[in-house]
């Protein structure tokens, strides 16, 4: 006689240890198997888009810091690029190089967080997380030298960066570049040689190329399906056209690939930073832009390859000092579209890992 059972609906979050912030998933379980999942968010909604309409173009930079607060540099970069496209400003060479160095360091820091939290979600009681934070701390120290801040950086300005890197930055960066590959190898061993981790992540929550493209998924999640789409390569902005790097690709599009790809991308980011350090030459770091930028009437959509995917800003100007419309195309938010398809049929424990593998940041999802 079959046992009578009924599905159970559980609200995972907003108070849950591993939802990466105040994220909520309304999940229907049959035992431990997920039948249906519905993401619910907005708990961190601060109305950034509305706030920006009351601020000048420079003041909005501080708002972008608070979107994806573990990757402020790339947010800054995407925003100032949009402003420059709108206002027709060309930043000086040294400013662009500094921006790329800062953005790639930030990508490493963001991927470190993602990798550390994966292992935490897998239940490895904070040890790998602490190790990843150890290296992230050094990147934050470098940022502190650049601009005095560690998390909310506001380093970039329309037309460049707000100050040149100090003397002591370059030797510190070189030491970091020398030591980091060793640590990345360590993470790679931790990831690919741990049988439990491989058992838990290989073949789980597979996302196909078609599903990913149809769901507007970008960034490492898309590349993990094996689709080569990196805006730094297909649409080089700033100085990415002058540096050599590879685009790491996954094969199966499962949780394992999504994390492996982040480790590989850290290596490529180091390569980019190394080449930028070689190529950078003395000069001004900021174009001659007035304090109150007044772009001409019009609109511009600019996008970069952020650590989490395509980070775009759509700006509409009415000729005044404040943007008329400031729209954020946040990768975390849009990548969540496919979450439901990835979860159905898997188990409660996989749900946490899959969510972690998309690498969302609630500051960016809720804006």
């Amino acid at each position: 006689m079959p046992m009578r059972s009924e599905p159970v609906t559980v609200n995972v979050g907003p108070q849950h240890p591993s939802t990466h912030g105040v994220f909520r998933l309304r999940i229907t379980f049959d035992g431990e198997v997920i039948l249906d999942a519905e993401p619910v968010f907005g708990y961190l909604h601060r109305g950034s888009e509305k706030l920006a309409e009351e601020r000048t173009y420079t003041q909005v930079i501080t708002l972008t810091d608070r979107l994806d607060y573990v990757a402020s540099m790339t947010n800054n970069q995407a925003y100032v690029l949009a402003c420059e496209k709108l206002a027709g400003v060309q930043p000086p060479e040294r400013g662009m190089y500094l921006r790329v160095i800062a953005a790639e360091l930030q990508r490493i820091a963001s991927h470190l967080m993602a990798t550390g939290f994966l292992l935490n979600d897998l239940g490895a009681f904070a040890t790998p997380l602490m190790y990843c934070f150890r290296e992230r701390e050094r990147i934050l120290d470098l940022f502190e030298m650049l601009c005095g801040a560690r998390i909310t950086l506001s380093y970039m300005r329309v037309g460049g960066v707000f100050q040149d890197a100090p003397e002591e930055f370059w030797p510190a960066l070189r030491i970091f570049l020398g030591e980091m590959p060793h640590y990345i190898d360590e993470y790679e061993r931790l990831l690919s040689e741990n049988e439990i981790l491989v058992t838990r992540t290989k073949g789980v929550s597979v996302l196909t190329v078609d599903q990913a493209l149809n769901g507007s998924v970008t960034g490492p999640v898309l590349r993990a399906t094996g689709f080569p789409w990196d805006l730094r390569k297909v649409d080089p902005y700033e100085v990415y056209g002058r540096v050599k790097f590879d685009v790491p690709l996954g094969r199966a599009g499962d949780n394992y690939d999504r994390f492996k790809i982040r480790i590989d991308e850290m290596r490529q980011s180091l390569r980019i930073v190394e080449q930028c350090v070689e190529q950078i030459e003395p000069g001004p770091v900021r174009a001659d832009v007035p304090a109150l930028v007044r772009p001409p009437v019009g609109d511009a959509y600019s996008r970069i390859e952020g650590p989490k995917g395509e980070l775009g800003f759509y700006l509409v100007s009415d000729g005044s000092v404040a943007p008329y419309r400031f729209k954020i195309r946040s990768p975390s938010f849009i990548n969540l579209t496919v979450l439901r398809d990835m979860l159905i049929g898997w188990k409660l424990a996989d749900m946490i890992v899959t969510l972690g593998s998309i690498d969302i940041n609630m500051g960016e999802v809720d804006r």
């Binding site: 559980v10 431990e32 198997v33 009681f125 838990r200 049929g345």
Partner: protein
Amino acid sequence: MAFLEGNALFRNLYCLLAGNSGNAQHCGRDGLLPAGWEWLAFALVGFAITFLLLSAFLLLTMFYTYLERRLLGRFQGRIGPNRAGPFGLLQPVADAIKLLTKESIVPQGADWLLYNLAPLMMVVVMFMVLAVIPFGKHTFIADLNVGVLFIIAVTSVNALAVFMAGIASGNRYALFGGMRAVAQLISYEVPMVLSIVGVLLLAGSLSLVEIVEAQVIPFFLLQPLGLFIFVVSASAEMNRPPFDQLEAESEIVAGYHTEYGGMKFGLFYLAEYAAVLTTSGVIATLFLDGWEGPLLPSHVWFLMKVFFLAFIFIWVRATLPRVRIDQTMAFAWKFLLPLGIINVFMTAAELLLFGHEEAGGQGIVLSTADLWLMSVVNFAVAVVGIGAFSRLVSLRTPALPVSAPKPSAAEVV
């Protein structure tokens, strides 16, 4: 009076109290109480020893919680608790005071009786195991002739306590924890018991004291496979990583004790850490020659072995990610169980081959040379067995071809 033989602690205290009535061969002098009151002396001494051991054990557990947090700190490249008292040694005291002064809450949807009973049951069970563990030469509460059976029986009640807590809380995460508890704890009992059978065959007794005395060479040399299976299933039984499914912090918040606060949570916490020490004690007794060791006093040897094992459990906790629940179950049934059966049959066959009946009918005896030969054979079988099974039994999710559609919700149900 079997209790007075071999149990030095009990005998000395008893002789201090009891009159010299028929116990001359044990005491040889008068005690404090008049003759005829031996029953009172017996009861008082039993109570005193239990009290003594429990207090000592609680202190050890407190120290162990400190040690675990401190070592985890080291493993994770941080310092760990170092504020309360010298080197933070008073941290467990501070924690206990904090937990004791918290308000005791029973959630509205909870079953009052079961909710309050579950943590008590958990702790009592943990302490009952202490009754049969020999902490040193002649130091134990009772030397039951069914000691191993007693431990297995008593620790299985654990599953019931966890399930009670999970059901009674009226919380869905707790329910998940309870469901997992029933599945996991019962499954891992089987390989655990099987792994002990090898030891029992070698020792020819269920009494823990006799098992220690039977270890001519420590049993971990003779039972490497048994030790491996026992350690793995014991870490599943006491809910330690990588099998901490019952509370799985990143998945089901705190599992079965999600709704518990204050000292009721404290009791779960205590039971969990006490379990590590008692399990280490059982492993030390069964496989590491218990209290035996050169030079140092037997109690020191025993504690050293226990804390060495506890350290290994902490190490594992700091290192390994969690296994998924279905993989945990598959591991027990597909991997540990066959290995356990192989171990039992192998040990039995070796005893038949090498052993010879002693004249007194005391069971099978082996010479030391045979034992070493057995050790070599068993190590070889352990390595080959574990290697072969890890190749044969794959717990990985079978890879889907990239083009194939994912299973839809309807098909999975």
